[in-house]
């Protein structure tokens, strides 16, 4: 295999990757601004330059290349020696850092990017610590460029990542460069606004505090945030995300790089769709129907009532139905179905169906015209539920046959008397047909937001959104991905996984007296594999990459 030595470390490579790519793959850092794995190479920021020695093709002796070479653009050559820590390379790094800051307002204390800004990091690592610039700085305006994004032109380092993103990824080209020389600016193409479906990504790829997310602006210092790896819980894309939160509150959602799923991006829908988690409408109290009116109760009383009603139904030979929401994780679907079956007993099988799967338009792949299989393609899924496939997979594993789809299930439950439903959708999901089909039935509902049924349920339990629990989702491509709990469930609520673990424990307790265990997604996966033979749940589930959980190392101290 071909070899290149970068800063003294021998690295192997195949093909003709750039020096920078090989360095990064080998855990070496080379500073870079304009280069981004998902965008074309422009080699314009000039901070990644290195001194290179190449073997003479005839004598094989190492000879210096007289110019500094951009490592982001220059392909590796066998036997070459590269140094980004030689005096020349270091002098260039210092010069570029000084240049980038001469017209920069140095307003880190009021900048959202502070703490995750490459100007800060590289200044510390590669800068000269002081500026010799004594002239007047160029002042540039702050611009409102789109529904989600502000542009602080002052802080821009003209790396052109954002411009390339709107050209090469979204194909919408709203951003462009205007002006020349040091008075150059990023601007909107006349008559356009940065309002494409992926617009939030420009704030992520901007290496400095020039493009900022309006939604996050001034809400939290980034060093206070804990980052928990998660999976898109709103659509079938399975986009890898990082939920960034502090003290039980989510502040923002960012993409996590996963080349086989979402590449480097997420849609604005996924980025901003989590707001309902902190809605003041969230259900936070178990309720039960008493003389036609709902009253508050607690979980154990609610469980008692559920158990009693189901026991009565079993005595009477009444039919029981259950609707498993595609918003639930595989583990929760399994626990739910297992419990319903156990509660119904051997004689009467419950009628189990998959909850409605919302679809909005059609799948859209970026860049326009790309096939979803292309290396850099990114797809927004029309299916707006994260786990319809996973729920179907688990129910089939448990029942041996395909579960009812929602429409079929609606027909099948005509003579059912007790119906258990799970919701957990970010918006209204109860259709008129469903409400009608449920009239005069005994309803147990686990949901997160108020809807048509929440006031009518005989027992209502407050559930938890995906950010508040762990589990596994199967995306539109059949990929199983595990996610971690980011924040605790809002006070008063419990994850569906915990609710069914509780209910299962109560059944077991009546025989052997054990208390309720804590819902543990990994243990449930093992159980699914062991008891249902669904080996994919221990074999194929993709766990978040190591290092994607980042705890804040800062503590907010009140003085």
């Amino acid at each position: 295999m071909a070899r290149i030595t970068i800063n003294g470390k021998p690295c192997e490579f195949t093909g003709a990757p750039s020096i920078l790519e090989v360095a990064l793959a080998n855990g070496l850092e080379i500073p870079h601004y304009c280069w981004h794995e998902g965008l074309s190479v422009v080699a314009s920021c000039r901070i990644c330059l290195a001194e290179v020695w190449a073997p003479n093709p005839r004598s094989g002796e190492l000879e210096p290349i007289p110019r500094l070479l951009p490592t982001c653009q220059t392909p590796c050559g066998d036997g070459q020696v590269v140094r980004t820590d030689s005096p020349k390379a270091i002098a260039n790094q210092k010069a570029v850092m000084e240049y980038l800051l001469i017209n920069h307002p140095l307003d880190c204390p009021i900048c959202d990017q502070a703490g995750e800004c490459y100007l800060q990091d590289y200044s510390y690592e590669y800068g000269r610590g002081e500026s010799r610039f004594e002239e007047a700085k160029i002042k540039q305006p702050k611009k409102d460029v789109g529904p989600h994004i502000y542009l602080y032109s002052d802080r821009c380092i003209m790396c052109s990542r954002c411009v390339r993103f709107t050209r090469e990824v979204t194909g919408t080209a709203e951003l462009c460069v205007v002006g020349r020389g040091s008075s150059e600016q990023i601007d909107l193409f006349p008559g356009k606004a940065l309002d494409n479906e992926l617009s939030g990504n420009v704030a992520d790829i901007c290496p400095v505090g020039a493009l900022l997310d309006k939604d996050f602006l001034f809400t939290q210092r980034v060093w206070l945030l804990t980052k928990t790896p998660s999976i898109d819980g709103l659509t079938a894309s399975g986009d890898n995300i990082s939920i960034e939160h502090n003290q039980g509150r989510i502040y923002r959602v960012k993409p996590r790089r996963n080349l086989s799923v979402n590449k480097w991006w997420i849609s604005d829908e996924v980025r901003y769709g989590w707001k309902f988690i902190h809605s003041d409408q969230r259900l936070t109290e178990p309720r039960r129907l008493q003389y036609g009116e709902q009253v508050g109760t607690n979980f154990s009383a609610a469980y008692d009532e559920i158990d009693e009603r189901l026991a009565a139904a079993r005595e009477a030979g009444a039919k029981v139905a259950a609707l498993v929401s595609p918003m639930l994780s595989c583990e929760e679907a399994y626990l739910m179905a297992r419990w319903v079956r156990a509660a119904c007993g051997e004689q009467s099988r419950p009628i189990i169906g998959v909850g409605p799967v919302p679809v909005n338009g059609e799948d859209r792949t970026f860049p326009p015209g790309a096939s979803p299989a292309d290396r850099n393609a990114f797809t927004i899924r029309a299916e707006k539920a994260p786990n319809a496939r996973g729920v179907r997979r688990v129910l089939k594993g448990l029942n041996g046959t395909e579960a009812f789809e929602f429409a079929k299930w609606l027909e099948a439950i005509k003579d059912a008397e007790v119906v258990l439903l799970t919701g957990n959708y970010p918006s209204e999901w109860v259709t008129k047909d469903l409400a009608k089909a449920l009239s005069r039935k005994c309803i147990f509902l686990i949901d997160t937001l108020p809807n048509d049924l929440t006031g009518k349920a005989n027992v209502l339990l407050p559930g938890a959104t995906w950010a508040e629990k762990s589990g596994t989702f199967e995306n539109a491509n059949g990929l199983l991905q595990a996610f971690e709990q980011a924040i605790p469930p809002v006070e008063g609520s419990r994850s569906e996984g915990q609710i069914f673990a509780d209910l299962l424990a109560r059944r077991a307790a009546s025989t052997n007296g054990h208390g309720a265990p804590r819902y543990n997604a990994a243990a449930v996966r093992e159980e699914m594999a062991a008891s249902l033979g669904l080996m994919e749940f221990i074999r194929d589930v993709q766990a978040p990459a190591a290092g994607s959980f980042i705890e804040s190392d800062m503590e907010l101290v009140e003085l």
Partner: protein, 447 residues
């Protein structure tokens, strides 16, 4: 053997062979009457490869600034490739002090068109674009008319060269720039032709492999292409008898060169001379000497990007070795600007720095920021508000940018670097006189 009569200026009356007052645009009929398009006729009787060989053997070097061997550039085109190729004719001529291509465009447009037709035939190029500087309104109109004539006469167009005397078809279009100097840089020009912002491309791939619209492309200066018909007509040996060989063992500087002289001389203008003519002779014999009898102080060698020749370098030979011999970047466009003894070199530096800060395309950090910083610093120096240490800072800034140290993508930054650095180095005392000491000595009285 020095030139005995005008070559490129054969139809453009120029001192000492003619009177500039007699100049008028030579249209198709007059062009043909004076032997025009004969070289094209002769070329198409040859194998294309033979034409390329002749240009290669003549050692014709690019007249656009870099002096790259023209024939060698042509051989970089992919072999055994039948698809679309392009010729981009660089008529952007935006270098301050350079106005030699304008002379050709003004008076002898068919000389360029003939050069284009021959080059396209030789390199199997189907389409040529002439990229003309935005401010050349008049010249654009002349070219439009000349191209229309050439199509009408069957030089270009669907019938094949010379009304089908040869199967090969060439199309030629004019494209006007929008006033950016950087669009004269060859890959900035290609981007601009494609309708994009004129941001020079990173190389490799080189344009000969992947150029305009991703297709193999040759980029040549107007004057370079105009030399081609003469090489075909008079032969390689004749061409090599003009100009001079290298005196320092480098590649030769054959042929004549249009030299546009501006500045403090009696008679500024474009003159055609042998390459290698000493600057002093150019000024004294062609330009009638220094204006007002003043003394020579400095000269910009060939466009501001090349840096300045010092007071003791008036005898510099104007050939492609000038860079190595006289501490300038190169011959550039061979259009010198002459300064007399009254010139304030700090002001010259500031003025040049202003040009580069306005024209930097803004891609590369060192060029974008460095050009602005140097300009501001030079303004401060000119006002007498700078310290001595700022001179070193200025030199450091200049030295930090350029395609040669490798810190920028294109050569614009090198131009800025060389212009400022050579002026400061060759006239340092003028800068020092404007600056106050960096350290003010403090004396402590000890009783």
């Amino acid at each position: 053997m020095p030139m005995t009569g005008p070559v490129l200026t054969r139809r453009i009356p120029t001192f000492p062979y003619g009177n500039p007052r007699d100049r008028r645009t030579v249209w198709y009929d007059d062009y043909v009457k004076s032997g025009g398009y004969e070289a094209l006729r002769r070329s198409i009787a040859l194998e294309p490869a033979a034409v390329v060989d002749m240009v290669k053997d003549s050692s014709l070097r690019g007249r656009g600034g870099a002096g790259f061997p023209c024939g060698l550039k042509w051989t970089f085109l992919p072999k055994n490739y039948e698809g679309q190729r392009y010729l981009a004719v660089n008529a952007d001529e935006s270098e301050p002090g350079t106005f030699k291509d304008r002379l050709i465009l003004d008076y002898d447009p068919h000389m360029l068109l003939e050069g284009i037709a021959i080059s396209c035939f030789a390199c199997r190029i189907q389409t040529a674009y002439i990229y003309i500087r935005g401010e050349y309104h008049h010249q654009a109109r002349i070219l439009e008319r000349a191209i229309a004539e050439a199509y009408g006469q069957g030089i270009f167009g669907g019938r094949g060269i010379l009304n089908g005397a040869c199967d090969f078809k060439v199309d030629c279009y004019l494209h006007r720039g929008a006033g950016a100097y950087i669009c004269g840089e060859e890959t900035g020009l290609l981007e601009s032709l494609e309708g994009k912002r004129g941001w020079p491309r990173i190389k490799p791939p080189f344009p000969a492999v992947k150029g305009l619209f991703g297709k193999p492309t040759i980029i040549n200066n107007v004057e370079t292409l105009c030399c081609v018909p003469f090489i075909i007509e008079h032969g390689v040996e004749w061409f090599k008898s003009l100009g001079c060989a290298s005196k320092i063992g480098g590649p030769p500087s054959f042929g004549t060169k249009l030299m546009g002289v501006s500045g403090h001389v009696q008679r500024p203008g474009v003159y055609e001379c042998d390459l290698g003519i000493p600057l002093r002779r150019l000024v004294e014999e062609y330009c009638g000497g220094m204006r007002g009898g003043k003394r020579y102080k400095a000269a910009i060698a060939g466009g501001v990007s090349m840096g300045v020749l010092g007071t003791d370098q008036f005898d510099a030979e104007m050939d492609f070795d000038i860079g190595r011999k006289y501490e300038v970047l190169g011959l550039g466009t061979a259009c010198p600007t002459i300064f007399d003894e009254d010139t304030d070199m700090v002001m010259v530096a500031r003025n040049i720095a202003r040009f580069f800060k306005n024209e930097s395309c803004g891609q590369c950090t060192p060029c974008r920021e460095g050009s602005g910083w140097m300009y501001k610093l030079l303004c401060r120096m000119e006002r007498g508000e700078a310290k001595l240490k700022d001179i070193d800072l200025l030199l450091e800034l200049a030295g930090s940018m350029g395609a040669m140290p490798g810190t920028t993508i294109c050569g614009l930054a090198d131009g800025n670097n060389w212009a400022v650095r050579t002026i400061v180095n060759k006239f340092r005392s003028e800068f020092e006189a404007r600056c106050s000491p960096s350290f003010v000595p403090v004396t402590v009285g000890v009783a």
